[in-house]
Amino acid sequence: MIEIKNLTKTYVGKRALTDVDLRLPGGEIVGLFGENGAGKTTLMKCILGFLPYSGEITLDGEPITRRNIARLSFATCEHSFFPNLTPMAHRDFYAVHFDRFNDKRFHGLMDFFALPKHKPLAAFSTGQKNQFEVIMALSQGADYILMDEPFAGNDIFNREDFYKVLLGILEPNETVLLSTHLIEEVSDFIGRALLLRRGRIVGDVTMDVLEEQGTDLMAYIKDTYHYRADRVSRALDDLTGEGERDDK
């Protein structure tokens, strides 16, 4: 289990995360939601140790160090592969460095998405690059797979295929933390939703609870964010002066 206690991250005088407390047990698919700048990426980077922070992050009670870092994998929309290398060269590199690299899963997913194995990644389309990024995160043999908006740039059919494949291939002990803006799309696929707002966890709910309450994820998020349904029409009124004319 990943356990986060009092996590606070500050960027040059600006708080990105404030007193985040969180537990991610094994075997969950967790959606991480929040507007741009809410702290989703920062949270993931803190977990991976890319950023200094105050607070405590542990993996099964141990701090995350080089000894257990292989239990975490990361797929990011920024892409963490080497553009000049081919997928097979990446496979070889991962196999050397990650003892539990899942070769069968790698080839299975590469074949499923019909990605060329011997072509440099620089020549891939954005969608293919995203697919490859996620394939490597899933094939690394990690228990915790962190995905930061991995499908940005992929078409809807592609994304839906991926959700289905993901649900089909994940082992019971594998946990996915998926940061995305595609709320409705992933609502049938995740088991738990975390909501970040201005660096704080403002919502943490399982899909079972939402079902019991007879609500859906989008409604829950809008409610938690105090979303004003009339903000668009009010803004348009302000911009076009419709409101003033009506008043007169």
Binding site: L48, F50, R66, I69, A70, E78, F81, A89
Partner: protein, 167 residues
């Protein structure tokens, strides 16, 4: 002779062609430039003697300039090449953030030295190679200086003076 596989010590997918070419030519030009010592030495050597009665005669009280003074900037080329190689360290690290964030992968490898091994090894070895070449040439030039300079014109503690000036 087959060259060892250097790609294990270079950033993944990084082409070493430019660095290799710069290094080879850098060493070559540095070696040529260091020959300015021979020129200085020859002129100083000729100043030690006069041509009299169809033969060279040592001037009375003639003294050969110190070896360190004759060397002067002869090895500056090697220093520049070594400095250039060390600049490639920054290029290697920044390579991991160009076109993608491959540094994220390197920073979460169980082997914490992998990134540094791939960024530091070759530039440091290249810089050391420069130092070795320069030192070997220094020994050769020192041997020439000591062997060909007439004993009467030599000043004492030549070897010591090199390092005194250097340090």
């Amino acid at each position: 002779m087959k060259l060892p596989d250097l790609t294990r010590y270079a950033p993944l997918g990084y082409s070493l062609t430019l660095e290799r070419t710069l290094y080879k030519f850098g060493l070559l030009f540095s070696g040529f430039y260091s020959l300015c010592f021979i020129d200085r030495y020859t002129r100083s050597f000729n100043n030690l003697r006069d041509w009299e009665n169809k033969r060279y005669v040592l001037r009375e009280g003639a003294v050969m300039p110190d070896f360190a003074d004759l060397i002067d900037t002869a090895f500056i080329g090697f220093a520049l090449v070594a400095a250039m190689m060390l600049c490639f360290i920054a290029v290697h690290y920044s390579y991991h953030t160009q076109g993608s964030r491959a540094d994220y992968l390197m920073r979460r490898l169980p082997d914490r030295l992998e990134l540094h091994r791939r960024c530091l090894t070759l530039p440091i070895l290249a810089a050391l190679g420069c130092a070795v070449c320069a030192f070997v040439l220094l020994l050769v030039y020192f041997a020439i200086y000591m062997l060909f300079t007439p004993q009467a014109c030599l000043q004492p503690e030549q070897w010591y003076k090199i390092w005194r000036d250097f340090l």
